[in-house]
Symmetry: C2
Subunit: 292 residues, 2 copies
């Protein structure tokens, strides 16, 4: 039985299993809200959120871009600490922060904020063509966003870079990947660049140079873990760039990883049915850079 916890701002940890959202909540009815997800580790020292500050920062950026007047940082922190005190399931978990614009019928009540903690799903394990087991290796397919790489420039209504609750295309892309016999997807643009995964950032290493797609005009979400990896790579003297990566480069790279805060960097072992190069040593190094 998987463990779960819900904590609502202004109310605290919810005991038992009960509805907490009204039918006219704009986050529910229109996907008009934002969220963020962070990794929780629970061991002898207790439960803690990895990179909590960075995730609350990113949530605040999302809220600002949506013009949602969210709760003050201290209110989130107090709710997080209350939830962590109540969370005693050993191992890894995911904390999800959700902020909505509030209720349509009672706009004066303001935003709605809650968090959930849930046990992490088991990581996917795949085997490379060599027959060696590859930790959390992924078979992926490319899926077009239907947009060029600069579609979000000067188009704030498209909410590029904002982790909104309107996340269904990401879910549908993951479903399409499974339908094609793969584990995950890589979004690509109509002008030939690879952006990110439906629930992950993308890192590519070629000839010792690390690259990831830039935020901004591409509309991709900033990734706390990708940022962490790039900073660590630079600290180790590796060249690391935020620049558009041609989709074709993925097939010839030394390594390609889909990166999320909860599962860390997972090597892509196959893309559109073609084997990719997998460097176990490099994968271990990138995982360390991400704190895994």
């Amino acid at each position: 039985m998987t463990e779960h916890l819900v904590a609502v701002l202004g109310r605290g940890v919810v005991r038992g299993d009960e509805p907490v959202i009204f039918a006219d909540d704009l986050g529910f009815a229109r996907g008009d809200g934002c969220f963020d997800s962070a990794r929780v580790v629970c061991d002898e020292a207790g439960a803690r959120v990895v990179n909590l500050d960075e995730h609350l920062d990113r949530l605040a950026v999302s809220a600002g871009r949506m013009e949602i007047d969210g709760p003050p940082r201290q209110a989130w922190e107090a709710l997080v600490h209350e939830a962590l005190d109540a969370w005693t399931t050993p191992g890894e978990a995911t904390m999800k922060f959700v902020l909505t614009r509030g209720r349509e019928w009672f706009p004066g009540q303001g935003c709605v904020a809650l968090l959930t903690v849930s046990e992490k799903a088991a990581a996917t394990v795949r085997t490379a063509s060599s027959g060696k087991a590859v930790t959390r290796g992924l078979r992926a397919v490319t899926l077009s966003t239907g947009r060029p790489s600069d579609a979000f420039a000067d188009a704030p209504w498209l909410l590029g870079g904002v982790k909104t609750l309107s996340y269904v295309v990401n879910i549908a892309a993951a479903r399409e990947a499974r339908r094609r016999g793969a584990d995950d997807a890589v979004f690509v643009t109509t002008d030939g660049f690879a952006l990110d995964g439906p629930t992950s950032g993308l890192i590519v290493v070629t000839d010792g140079v690390m690259r990831t797609a830039p935020t901004g005009a591409t509309g991709i979400l900033a990734s706390v873990t990708v940022d962490e990896i790039l900073a660590a790579a630079r600290a180790e003297g590796m060249e690391a760039r935020e620049e558009l990566v041609p989709t074709a480069d993925l097939f010839t790279a030394d390594g390609v990883w889909l990166v999320s805060s909860s599962r860390g960097p997972s090597p892509v072992v196959e893309l559109d049915g073609r084997q990719l190069s997998v460097d176990e040593e490099l994968t271990a190094r990138v995982a360390r850079m991400a704190g895994f």
Copy 2:
């Protein structure tokens, strides 16, 4: 005080004001669900939903495209009738059907279905340049979708034509329109065509020919009311086509309307700051075609 009502499948009309959605509902947490809206009229004869069958049909199409196993038609109809029996507020209202994939933590429980009824917001009234009052005339701005007109062809993961709960770009577009001093927006493609509004279909009449953008590759939602208008126009002997309409044609048309099931056809009196032609007689005729 505006009146509201909530009815949940398997439970019926909810008395009072209470939360009905769990924090892990996929409709809430990821916008992974679909909805539909219909017009409710309540007079001496009681309350009724206009074009209920067509709206439930469209909801079923949305659910099918998302692979959500929704409740049987009779279950929706029973819930609608229970809600209508309880709805006694005279005048116009909006019924909204919401269907989500259900709970992330308890997938065995299946989908979640509910409906809400709420009093209709007051219609916008604008004055044309002639000084004559124009019923519900709108000032609109064009906003790019960042995609060409065929972006949704062979890309089912983009969920074109599906009225999903991931609706925030539509809301953000309406907010951008207001920021620019307008009432509404018209989405346009990167290859120069006008599609629809954030919460409405688009109808253009030029030289006695009615046009609306086709569904399919454009990704636009089918509109029950637009379909009704096109059928009525054809029945009256007017030529009515579903075809791509160049954005430039809107500025020279005899009339442009944004059409929704709850407010009917509203003439666009101004687009991007330029006055559009407004034909009061034609507007009255289009309104009649839509049953308003």
